[in-house]
Amino acid sequence: MSQGADWNVPSRRMGGPPEPASRESASLADILERVLDKGIVIAGDIQINLLDIELLTIKIRLLIASVDRAKEMGIDWWEHDPTLSSGARDVLDENERLRRRVGELESGPGADREPERDQGHERGRGRGREDGP
């Protein structure tokens, strides 16, 4: 190997904005994906199923935590993750239900669903949609 000296595994970015200084010389994520998921597998005497650990600790547990943060950022990439895509279907179904409901409200007479407005003094505003932004 040409490097000879210790492998301190720096990481650097090519182009793009400068990276926040918090990154360690070798990131924990980089190390974990290699030592837990890669490296030659030799059956030792003490058997631990690292796949369990990897899924529980790294993928599922932290993914759940990261979903809230991603939502704040307006990103819903997990809907495209095949392992998580049932959630996307739920959202589409709900979307369809809501569309039907909105359609009913808009096309129907609507008065029986707005008892507070039966007094008449709000009649000019109708259902409000013509005044919408």
Partner: protein, 264 residues
């Protein structure tokens, strides 16, 4: 087994070291001194760790403790990295544990052929990691296409807009993934082998946006500069791609026998 019983944790396998011995002053996952166990022309880089912490039950509990896991994973990696400074290594999967050194010698003898072949396969080659991050907004379709027809009611328009946003994100993801494939193809041409990792958890890896590429490349050492220059060039050619190189790594991603990868 007594309470202070110890078992043998393996870090790496290297060619036999003769008189050179283990890297000096090196400690491992349990702060234990690292040493070599040799047999059949090979050397295992090992440490003796307490059974009380590294037996099946306590180890399983430790592995669910992220701070413990981080410390041990970094120690495992540090030992492999130091050993790699002394000669070609085969990194061993985390938590490869034998009852004692004799069992390690037996393993070295039984697996001598494939371990020797693996050492030869990665000799003169180095693993480099390449990631690509993108800001999803850079890959969204032209917003003019998103406008709902003026005939729609506000409720319908809102729902159509929501659906369009979701479709746009899907389109953006597809576009970014296609670009990542171009980057991968260009880098593969300079590598002896490549391996894909799943995108990292955004919280664990502390990034924003999408990680659309997370690959390792086994690069011949005489092409190292060419490889890193290629990454720089790709970064300039695709300004929307934030490319990051990590390495050199010991060949973690290229020492598993192909059939073992199939089994996953």
């Amino acid at each position: 087994m007594t309470e202070d019983a110890r078992v043998t944790w393996l870090y790496a396998v290297t060619a036999g070291r003769d008189e050179r011995g283990a890297p000096p002053d090196l400690t491992g996952v349990s702060d234990e001194p690292v040493r070599l166990v040799e047999n059949a022309g090979l050397a295992a880089v090992v440490g003796s760790v307490p059974l009380a912490d590294f037996g099946e039950e306590p180890l399983r509990a430790h592995l669910e403790d992220l701070p413990w896991l981080e410390r041990a994973a970094r120690a495992h990696h540090r030992v492999i990295g130091r050993a790699a400074g002394y000669g070609q290594v085969i990194p061993l999967r985390f938590a490869t544990i034998y009852h004692d050194d004799d069992r390690v010698r037996t393993m070295l003898r039984e697996r001598r052929d494939d371990l020797t072949a693996t050492l030869a396969r990665v000799a003169g080659r180095t693993e480099w990691g390449v990631k690509a991050y993108v800001d999803p907004r850079a890959f969204l379709p032209d917003p003019a296409d998103d406008e709902a027809s003026g005939d729609d009611s506000p409720g319908t328009a809102y729902l159509l807009r929501r659906r369009a946003q979701r479709d746009d994100k899907e389109t953006a993801h597809l576009r970014a993934t296609e670009r990542a494939e171009e980057v991968h193809t260009a880098l593969t041409a300079l590598a002896a082998a490549s391996a894909a990792h799943p995108p990292q958890d955004a919280r664990l890896a502390a990034y924003e946006g999408w990680m659309v590429l997370n690959n390792s490349y086994l690069v011949p050492d005489d092409r190292t500069e060419e490889f890193t220059a290629a990454v720089t060039g790709l970064g300039e050619r695709y300004p929307d791609f934030d490319l990051e190189v990590s390495g050199p790594w010991p060949p973690y991603s290229f020492t598993a026998p192909p059939e073992a990868e199939e089994a996953l």
